[in-house]
């Protein structure tokens, strides 16, 4: 009995000591930082037709592969919704993103309309996180973080010299994702008088976009280490 009491006292003391030592330690970086890259369209769904004759689905996949390489080289774990020209339903894409428990989800699009990069977040009304969420509006608990992620992407793209437009709209795929999610649409870079400075098929232009997005996600990871991103 005495030995048991002593053991309890020693254990309690050790716990107090451990707690006292852990308290002043700085916040560690997130144990795992996962980014979901969703190349939109695929399979029978070609998306838009680009001026070069390339389909949007092929452009999106190429950009996702390029971005995955950049992020992988920087030590960021990447989950993709498709690796080939395959048809993936919107619900399936959201399922993949939700199972990944990601800190950032980017849906990649391309269009010949407009100029620069268009960033869209869900137009759902922000809500408090709940234990159970409706499938079609699961993103509502993450809208605030999604807007913050869009801001991070906006800053990096502006810093890289892109023309950026921000918007909110109904996004059936993203609205079911339980992660900070932004739809990124790449358009040609138009100068004054609608002169095209860089076309979508310009490899240098694609590389610049991918580099800017990767830089933004790196910064987002740094923020996540401080604020536990993706945990509303």
């Amino acid at each position: 009995m005495r030995w048991t009491n002593c053991a309890i006292v020693v254990f309690a003391g050790a716990c107090q000591l451990a707690g006292a030592q852990a308290a002043p330690a700085p916040a560690p970086p997130p144990a795992r930082f996962v980014v979901v890259l969703d190349a939109a369209h695929g399979g029978d769904d070609s998306g838009g037709k680009l001026s070069t004759g390339q389909s949007e689905k092929a452009f999106n996949l190429a950009l996702a592969v390029r971005l995955r390489s950049l992020l992988g080289a920087r030590g960021i774990q990447v989950v993709t919704t498709r690796e080939s020209d395959a048809a993936v339903e919107l619900d399936r894409r959201a399922e993949i993103a939700n199972h990944a428990n990601a800190q950032a989800c980017l849906t990649l699009h391309a269009s010949e309309s407009g100029s620069g990069v268009h960033l869209f977040s869900s137009s759902l009304v922000p809500t408090e996180p709940a234990r159970f969420a409706a499938w079609k509006t699961a993103q509502s608990a993450y809208v605030t973080r999604s807007l913050a992620l869009a801001g991070e992407l906006n800053s990096a793209l502006l810093h890289a010299g892109f023309n950026v437009t921000l918007g909110r709209t109904d996004l059936p795929g993203i609205d079911s994702m339980t992660c900070p999610a932004v739809a990124v649409e790449i358009a040609p870079d138009h100068g004054p008088g609608q002169k095209i400075n860089a076309a979508l098929d310009d490899p240098a232009y694609q590389a610049r976009v991918a580099e800017a997005l990767a830089a933004a996600l790196l910064e987002w990871r740094s923020d996540a280490g401080r604020t536990e991103a993706g945990r509303p």
Partner: protein
């Protein structure tokens, strides 16, 4: 000298040629009638006898993703549905112009019909400004909020440029223009050729009711 067999064969061939000629002529006439009947005879212009009135249009710009308010003077019919159709036709005419900042082919004939009816109550709304709104239930009188059903032509959806931004701007500008001219219109639903459609051209969601107030110009 030709044999009797050759004479009969020649006669049969001549007869067959005559029959085929008549049949071809009939088919040509039928095809012509079909082409004439297939032409869109629906009125696409407002009647000129109506007095010119001012209409507010929300005109989209692809370059910066913005929408500007533009006031146009045009003859408008009295019937609200026809009036809404004429106003949207004017908006789409601007988009079909060669130097449009939001180029979309089709013009005024792209709007087949606009129907107005009492707006049903919504349980979940999507407002960008974080202000949840729950429209009241439909009223039997004509003072309550209204739902506008915009029926677009299949050719408009097929020829609309594909892209998140351009499709979203088209939807928002239509919703905003309707609300600016008919403040009672709080909800807008889109049909294509009378049928529900998942997206406009692969991106903008048309499967649910849009809140017109979201796209309305801020006062």
């Amino acid at each position: 000298m030709s044999s009797r067999f050759q004479t009969i064969l020649f006669s049969v061939l001549v007869l067959a040629s005559a029959i085929m000629g008549v049949a071809l002529w009939r088919q040509l006439e039928r095809a012509h009638q079909r082409l004439l009947a297939g032409g869109d005879s629906a009125p696409t212009q407002a009647p000129q006898v109506a007095p010119a009135e001012q209409a507010t249009l929300l005109v989209a710009n692809d370059t910066d993703g913005s929408m500007i308010t533009e006031v146009q003077s045009l003859p408008l019919p009295k019937d609200p549905g026809a009036r809404a159709r004429v106003i949207l036709g004017k908006l789409l005419d601007l988009y079909a112009a060669p130097d449009a900042a939001h180029p979309v082919p089709g013009g005024a004939p792209s709007v087949s019909q606009v129907f107005l009816m009492p707006a049903p109550a919504l349980t979940q709304t999507t407002t960008p400004d974080s202000t949840p709104q729950t429209p009241p239930a439909p009223k039997s009188n004509d003072t309550g909020p209204e739902l506008a059903i915009v029926n677009l032509t299949p050719s408009f959806a097929a020829s609309h440029p594909s892209g998140l931004e351009t499709e979203t701007l088209t939807v928002l500008s239509i919703c905003g223009t309707l609300h600016a001219n008919f403040p009672r219109i709080t909800q807008v639903r889109f049909l294509v050729d009378g049928q529900p459609r998942a997206t406009l051209a692969g991106h903008a969601d048309l499967s649910h009711v849009h809140l017109a107030v979201d796209a309305a110009p801020q006062q």
